[in-house]
Subunit: 409 residues, 2 copies
Amino acid sequence: MRGRGTEDVRRHNLSTLLGLVHARGGVTRAEVTRELGLNRSTIGALVGALVEAGLLVEQAPSDGAPGRVGRPSLEVRPRTDGAEVLAGYVDVHAVQVVRVGLGGAVRGRRTVATSAPPTPARAAELLAAAARDLLAESPPGLLAGVGVAVPGLVRAGDGVIAHAPNLDWRDAPFADVVAAGLEAATGQRLRVDVANDADLGLIAEHRRGAAVGLSDVVYLCGTYGLGGGVLTGGHPLTGHRGYAGEVGHVSVDPDGRACRCGSRGCWESETLAAAWAEPFDLDPDAPDIADLVLARLAAGGVVSRRTRDKLSRAFARGLANIVHLFDPQAVVLGEGLWHRLWPEVRDDVMPWVDRLVMPAMRAGITVRTSALGEGSTVLGAAELAFTRLLQDPLALTQESPDPDPVLQG
Amino acid sequence: MRGRGTEDVRRHNLSTLLGLVHARGGVTRAEVTRELGLNRSTIGALVGALVEAGLLVEQAPSDGAPGRVGRPSLEVRPRTDGAEVLAGYVDVHAVQVVRVGLGGAVRGRRTVATSAPPTPARAAELLAAAARDLLAESPPGLLAGVGVAVPGLVRAGDGVIAHAPNLDWRDAPFADVVAAGLEAATGQRLRVDVANDADLGLIAEHRRGAAVGLSDVVYLCGTYGLGGGVLTGGHPLTGHRGYAGEVGHVSVDPDGRACRCGSRGCWESETLAAAWAEPFDLDPDAPDIADLVLARLAAGGVVSRRTRDKLSRAFARGLANIVHLFDPQAVVLGEGLWHRLWPEVRDDVMPWVDRLVMPAMRAGITVRTSALGEGSTVLGAAELAFTRLLQDPLALTQESPDPDPVLQG
């Protein structure tokens, strides 16, 4: 651990202020002063620096604060067009790109369906084409970064996909491939960060969704594979290479079915598309597998009841493991099969969770569905892209003084 | 997140400096300057403040640095008698107390065997008597705190043991009971912190044992129950109530044996004393169960071979889960059954780990035994007791100006 000087203090305070306004959307100076615990003149200087950098605006609050007397405190808000990012999500059946402004507003979206899982090169091509389309709609201010979500093991630091079982990618230097594709499409070298889809869904739900204000959360997502993102003590769980949180590959049954990972009886292979498709004789890779399963459950009958019982119990076993491992305030079911099935099977699963968790840990186990619905992963990729700006707001704005860097070439 | 002022900076720098010297034992001013990244005059002032507070000394380096010319850089060292702590460990068959000085030197130790697991009141009584004995040997300087390790779920913040299955404790306000016992025995109200044994073993191994310098580590310990302590990204995994890391209660076999936790087929019930005792017809609660198992393994035969194969595979399944969940640099086997068995079964377990872990995560899986041997848990309790002093060194020394606070009454 290093010591700290006054420049570190200023950078930390600017970062804290911008992060607060980015997450909340609008805060009064009085709230900022209270939250940061600094005196008013220091806050004034910090706000001033970020207004001057084009990242914040000060204005009268949106609601008139009725009943208050005296001059209303000005509200500090993010400049949605002051800094923007591009965010992508490569999934088994689609590639998606969104353009997001500071404060989290989605300013444009493109989704391209794919008939088969794309290769890394094809995915990068689709991402770049969508990005060019979105940027052509209006010139961005500062383009602060690009974030991309992938369902697989992403090596920390260099964005290499070590293994994405459901895309069938191995050792793909995907961040570099995307950066090259974007450069060809937009004429500009942009910084590209790639991360695991569940890790990013977690970040989005934590910033503006079902996990706001929580410090200990497990986020689960996926239909064909089960991704896990874990927040513990306010920190994302990454592991030393970036591969942690593979809750889908916790072995829950030594005699279970073979998993795409090479092992057997994984929580993923016992409870996701493959497990639901088999008893109902469905295609496990069908894009609408959730609808098909829901229809079979609604139709009832012996197979339906037996399947529901067996898979609810298997899913509960994994949820109990999660409680024992992470002692979370909430488990959030993000986009994917269990998110879709949850209203139908919740009352089958939860009594099993209660039975399987140690009595002392049972109280207050909360399983909830995503508040951002089918969009949390790509919104998390946008938050990833904002990271550098939020860490050191002035470094990035000073580094790119040109207000229109993308379209200049 | 709060903003920072200059007082925070000074406290942070003093804390960083004292933490460095406490962990390393002795460092030159040049090393301190390099590690903290601050200028020499700031370092001089920080060292001076901690020398004046009686926590550090400056002296010529212990080895004469042969071959060097010029004046040797003075070495900053912890004052072993400048601040001390008491640390306890309540286990199934014994209660242990050590007296530890700043820098980690053990200055005294008492171990009391118990015929049956003690009640909270009895454990507190044994701890207090041993503490009084240890303090009577020489008057301590500043007694900075008391830490106690317990094999169970310890609620964060108040030291209540929610459940310790192998001691059969439930909802025991143990920190308060220990503080009252120590007050009766020493005449002084001391701050007592209680934590899970594995969480503390991890801290000790991280500071001076098998996990020094690592950021992602899983520590396992126990003979009758399997405790887990997890360090992830440099942060201890606690969960929101303090109960996280219960890797022993990850369900690895839906048809496995009943576990003391109330569930079935837990990693703990499938691989610890109960699992080894059954095929060999041994008493699973025997204090020397590890010796008995090792004797049976050495004797060979069909049962021995079958048991070794089955339990090695079951242990490997849990290790593979740990790799998938935490992506650690190392798994450390701390005090307990697997630590004792490891030299004998290592070559049976590791090939299974390799087969069960996803190929992309296999490289560099390290399982090693504790470097502190049978002492890591209680040494971790000592580190817990030093926490407050290390966080804000001058607050505690100024709060207790009397050099002999314990024996003054």
